[in-house]
Symmetry: C2
Subunit: 226 residues, 2 copies
């Protein structure tokens, strides 16, 4: 059997979060050619010695960057071409791209380790200089996230354990980038059995009617899909 040369394989991750009421994506500034000085999705090399499978590789890479294992990793697509990465044979580079959505403030960046510039960037104020085809990948990740939220499919770990319906609505509106109707939002949640009130608990203390505390029903949370 002949032996074949293989491409240089990486995993990239589009991590999104709400920062200052807006959907942001985590980007890194490249310090090496190609695209030196451009912004790119954080990622890392697939390590056949460390990673039992692709999902584990994504978890490891994300943990190196974020300090936490991201709660809802899901695969978006794979890109690969000759000339994409100088470290591969014939420049052949292959990247499996994942996305994740984390709660505001959950990430504790682990700087050092050649992560000099890791930055949250609002998705509607992206820089113009974006490396590779990552601009398109970011757009696709944002679209998928918005589509999930619009369908009331809330990724694991993005929504807090306990919340009021008002908080859930504000969160959804911030992800979607527009307001939504309160009555319709609540009716859909109720009719589809997506949330359940926590018996006897409510949030008081503000100058208005107290709100009930809810949690997601397990059937409503989107599975991990790594």
């Amino acid at each position: 059997m002949p032996t074949y040369l293989m491409p240089f394989c990486r995993v990239e991750i589009a991590v999104q979060s709400l920062i200052d009421q807006r959907l942001n994506v985590l980007l890194i500034r490249r310090e090496e050619a190609p695209y030196k000085g451009f912004w790119a999705l954080p990622g890392g090399v697939l390590r056949v010695d460390l990673d039992p499978d692709l999902g584990a590789a994504a978890v490891r890479v994300a943990k190196e960057r974020l300090g936490i294992p991201p709660p809802n990793l899901c695969q978006m697509k794979t890109v690969g071409a000759k000339g994409r990465d100088p470290r591969g044979e014939a420049g052949w580079g292959l990247s499996v791209v994942y996305r994740a959505l984390i709660a505001e403030g959950a990430a504790t960046f682990a700087p050092g380790k050649r992560v000099t510039e890791l930055r949250w960037v609002p998705v509607d104020e992206l820089p113009t200089k974006i490396a590779f085809d990552h601009a398109e990948l970011i757009a696709q990740a944002v679209n998928q996230t918005r589509s999930d939220i619009a369908k009331l499919s809330f990724p694991t770990g993005f929504v807090p354990e306990r919340f009021t319906l008002g908080e859930l609505q504000v969160l959804s509106e911030q992800v979607l980038g527009h307001t939504i109707d309160k009555a319709s939002f609540r009716r859909k949640l109720r009719d589809r059995g997506l949330v359940e009130a926590i018996e006897g608990e409510q949030l008081r203390g503000s100058a208005h009617r107290p709100s009930a505390i809810f949690r997601l029903r397990r059937s409503a949370v989107q599975p991990n899909g790594i």
Copy 2:
């Protein structure tokens, strides 16, 4: 910079077609371990020397199997794990999986070339012995195809150039596996501007009213997405 060992990279393709009024998928019988004797999706090794990018690799592999370049190749997902393929370091195998839908009778198998058993299998009569996680991949490919057709998104090259609305409906019903309402089907096609009648052409000769001949409008065909 350290050099890393890379996984063994392949491309697999779930080719679907209507055979004898039913949706079928093309499978191959494995002649080597692992999963010797099991059925699997046809595929091939990613060749960094031959393939300019991932899409081109998929086209090449499909052409080797089918004799034609498949008209509507689209990426589904990528799977990868240690122990998946003995040819990789630590058995690490990575497969980028595509799907395609071809018109009945379009494929001209190119046997020989270690393709001893290549066979169309109805998707609701799959064999029990399916290699790797290919059973799940096949199910996913079928779901995506049905979802496309249900949304009246007809992949390029699957639908004939010229057709009657009755033919298009029968084709859709065979893919979906259930009948659909004629009036609704036609109204949706009309309202969304998906098809256009070819001026002055009609199909006569049968013992009933002749039917108009239609073609897809370009805006209606699903782009290639490799």
